[in-house]
C-alpha cells in the first residue's frame, strides 16, 4: 500500500510532531470529548425538565429510541434526502458540465450565474424558495402554473420531501457543476478529436471518454456532498420544521427536537450515537474510495 516516500529529506520525527501537534491535538479533542460525553449521556437518565430523575439508564434510551417509529422515519428521510440530492446533482452536474464546457456567447457570465446558488446561505435559500418561489398563492411557481392553466401546488403540505430535495439540490448542483467543469478542462482534446475521426458520436464520446475522465472528480463530489448532506438542518428548520408530521424530519432534525425542544438529553444522545454510527458506516466506505483515488 505505502508508496515510497516523497523525494527529499526525511527528518527526525520531532519536527513534524511539533508542527502538526496543535492541529492534531485540537481536532482530536474536538472529536473525542463530545463523542465520549454523547456516549456517556446516552446511558443516563437525563432530562432537563426532570432534574430529579437521574442515574444509569442502561439501554433504556436506546430501547425508547429504537421502538420510536420517528427514528426509522428520520433515518429513511435522511437516506432519501441524501440519495435524491446526490443523484440529481451528480447526473445534472455532469450533463451541465458537458454543456457549459462548449464554446458559446457570454460563457463566462453564464457560468458565474449558474454556480451562484452554492454561495447563498442555506437559511436564505430556504426562505426564498419557501416564500417567493413555492408559496401556494403568491409564489412564482403558483403564478407559472396559473399561466399554463394548471392547479398551483401547495409544495410544503402536499410534496414536503420533494420540496426539501429541490431546495437542497438547487444549492448543491452548482457545486457539482463547479468541480466537474474544472475537471472537464483537463480533458484531452486530441483524444476526443481522434475518437471523432474514428466515427464515435457524441453519446459514445460521453460514455467512453468524458465519463471515465470525470470519475475521480465525481467521487470527490460525492464525498464532499455526503459530508454536508447527512446533516442538512437549516433548510428543514426554516421551511417545514420537520413536518407535516414527520415527513421531512431527518436524523439531524430529530435529535434537535429531542434535545432542545423536549430537553431529553439522554434520548437525544442515543440519537446522536446512532447518527454517528450511520455517518461512520458511510465514512469508512467513502474514505476507502477517496484513498484509492488519491493513490491513483
Amino acid at each position: 500500500m505505502n508508496k515510497p516516500r516523497a523525494a527529499g529529506r526525511t527528518v527526525g520525527g520531532l519536527r513534524p510532531l511539533a508542527l502538526q501537534g496543535p492541529a492534531v491535538t485540537l481536532l482530536f479533542l474536538w472529536m473525542i470529548v463530545p463523542l465520549a460525553m454523547t456516549v456517556w449521556f446516552s446511558f443516563q437518565r437525563y432530562n432537563l425538565l426532570m432534574p430529579g430523575m437521574t442515574g444509569f439508564a442502561g439501554l433504556e434510551n436506546y430501547e425508547y429510541l429504537f421502538t420510536d417509529p420517528a427514528l426509522w422515519t428520520a433515518m429513511l428521510n435522511t437516506l432519501l434526502l441524501v440519495g435524491w440530492v446526490l443523484v440529481i446533482t451528480v447526473v445534472g452536474g455532469t450533463l451541465l458540465a458537458v454543456l457549459f464546457q462548449q464554446e458559446f456567447f457570454g460563457r463566462g457570465i453564464a457560468r458565474v450565474l449558474v454556480i451562484s446558488p452554492f454561495f447563498v446561505m442555506p437559511t436564505v435559500s430556504a426562505l426564498v424558495w419557501k416564500n417567493l418561489m413555492m408559496h401556494p398563492a403568491n409564489g412564482v411557481l403558483a403564478w407559472l402554473a396559473g399561466v399554463f392553466g394548471a392547479e398551483p401546488v401547495d409544495w410544503f403540505s402536499s410534496l414536503p420531501m420533494t420540496s426539501i430535495v429541490i431546495i437542497v439540490a438547487w444549492q448543491w448542483l452548482p457545486f457539482a457543476l463547479l468541480i466537474l467543469l474544472t475537471a472537464m478542462q483537463s480533458l484531452d482534446d486530441d483524444q476526443v478529436e481522434a475518437a471523432r475521426m474514428d466515427g464515435a458520436g457524441p453519446v459514445a464520446i460521453f460514455f467512453f471518454i468524458t465519463l471515465p475522465h470525470l470519475k475521480r472528480a465525481i467521487s470527490v463530489v460525492i464525498m464532499i456532498e455526503m459530508i454536508f448532506l447527512l446533516t442538512v438542518f437549516a433548510e428543514i428548520f426554516v421551511t417545514t420544521s420537520g413536518g407535516p408530521g414527520l415527513a421531512t424530519t431527518n436524523l439531524a432534525y430529530l435529535i434537535y427536537i429531542r434535545a432542545l425542544l423536549d430537553f431529553d438529553v439522554g434520548m437525544a444522545s442515543a440519537g446522536g450515537v446512532v447518527a454517528i454510527i450511520l455517518a461512520n458506516i458511510v465514512a469508512i466506505f467513502l474514505v476507502r474510495m477517496v484513498a484509492k483515488n488519491l493513490d491513483e
Binding site: P22, A23, W30, L127, I179, L230, F237
Partner: protein, 272 residues
C-alpha cells in the same frame, strides 16, 4: 450535419436558459428587495418603480448591523485562527512527509464526517457550563474546529505544488523553519492561502446549524437573523428579500471572484 453556427447558437441558448433558470431565485430575491410590499406579493412583474424603502426599514431595525458584525467577526476570526493552526501543519505534511502523513490527512477529513448533530448535546452543555453559549468567542471556536480539516487539506494541496528546491535553497542559506515559512512559503503561496481563507469564510458565513443552536440574542450571526424571518413576520417579502440580499451579497461576490482557485484546493488536487 447541421450548420456549426446554428448548432453553436442552439448550445448557447440552451446554456443561457438553464443558467437563468438556476439563477432565477436569486435574481427574483434581489428584485423583490426593491419592490414595495404590495408589489412583492402581486403577480410577478418586471415593471415597477424601484424603491429603497425595504432596505431603509431593514436598516432601521438597528439590530441588522449587530448580526452582520457578528457574522464578520466570527467568520473572519475563525478563518484567521484556522489558518494560524493549519499552516504549520500543512507545511510539515507537504515538505516533511512521513509514513503517517496520508493517514493523518484522511483522519482529519473523517472528523468532518462526525455529524454535528451527534455531538450537539455535549457541546451545548459544555458551552452552557463555561459561559460560552451565545458568545462570539464560542461560535468562533466551533467554526475554527469545524473548518480546520478542510483548511489543512486545501493548504496541503497548494503547498505540495510548490517546487521543493525553493525552500531547500532557503534552508541552505541558513533559514530557520519559521523564517522559511514566513519569508519563502507564505509569499509564494498567497493565492492558495487567500482562496483557502475565502472558502473558510464562506463556510462560516453560511453555517446555520451551530449558529442557530448555540446563539440566541447576543452573538447571533446573519444566518440566525435571516432564520427569524421564517416566523409570520417573514410574510413581509420585500423586507425579507432586502435583508437576504444584504446577507448574501458580500459572500456571493467573494465566491464569484475566487471560484477558480477554490476548486483546486477543495478537491485535494484530484481535479486539476
Amino acid at each position: 450535419m447541421t450548420n456549426p453556427t446554428v448548432k453553436r447558437f442552439a448550445i448557447g441558448l440552451l446554456a443561457w436558459v438553464i443558467a437563468f433558470v438556476i439563477f432565477f431565485p436569486i435574481f427574483w430575491m434581489v428584485l423583490t428587495g426593491f419592490k414595495t410590499e404590495t408589489e412583492a406579493v402581486a403577480d410577478p412583474s418586471l415593471i415597477f418603480s424601484p424603491t429603497l424603502d425595504s432596505y431603509a426599514e431593514v436598516q432601521q431595525r438597528a439590530d441588522y448591523f449587530k448580526f452582520a458584525w457578528n457574522s464578520v467577526v466570527v467568520a473572519f476570526g475563525s478563518t484567521l485562527l484556522a489558518l494560524i493552526i493549519a499552516i504549520p501543519s500543512a507545511y510539515s505534511m507537504s515538505f516533511l512527509p512521513t509514513k503517517r502523513t496520508k493517514g493523518t490527512l484522511l483522519w482529519m477529513l473523517s472528523t468532518k464526517m462526525l455529524p454535528p448533530v451527534g455531538v450537539l448535546v455535549p457541546i451545548y452543555l459544555l458551552f452552557r457550563d463555561t459561559g460560552l453559549l451565545d458568545t462570539k468567542l464560542g461560535l468562533t471556536i466551533v467554526y475554527t474546529l469545524m473548518n480546520l480539516p478542510i483548511v489543512v487539506w486545501m493548504l496541503y494541496t497548494f503547498f505540495k505544488d510548490l517546487p521543493k528546491d525553493i525552500l531547500e535553497a532557503g534552508r541552505m542559506d541558513g533559514a530557520s523553519t519559521f523564517q522559511e515559512v514566513w519569508h519563502l512559503l507564505l509569499p509564494l503561496t498567497v493565492p492558495g492561502i487567500a482562496s483557502t481563507g475565502l472558502l473558510s469564510v464562506i463556510l462560516s458565513w453560511n453555517e446555520a446549524f451551530w449558529s442557530l443552536n448555540l446563539t440566541s440574542s447576543q452573538a447571533a450571526p446573519l444566518t440566525a437573523y435571516i432564520a427569524s424571518f421564517s416566523s409570520p413576520e417573514g410574510l413581509f417579502w420585500a423586507k425579507l428579500s432586502a435583508a437576504s440580499t444584504m446577507a448574501i451579497a458580500p459572500i456571493l461576490v467573494f465566491g464569484w471572484l475566487t471560484q477558480k482557485q477554490m476548486v483546486r484546493g477543495l478537491t485535494f488536487g484530484a481535479v486539476k
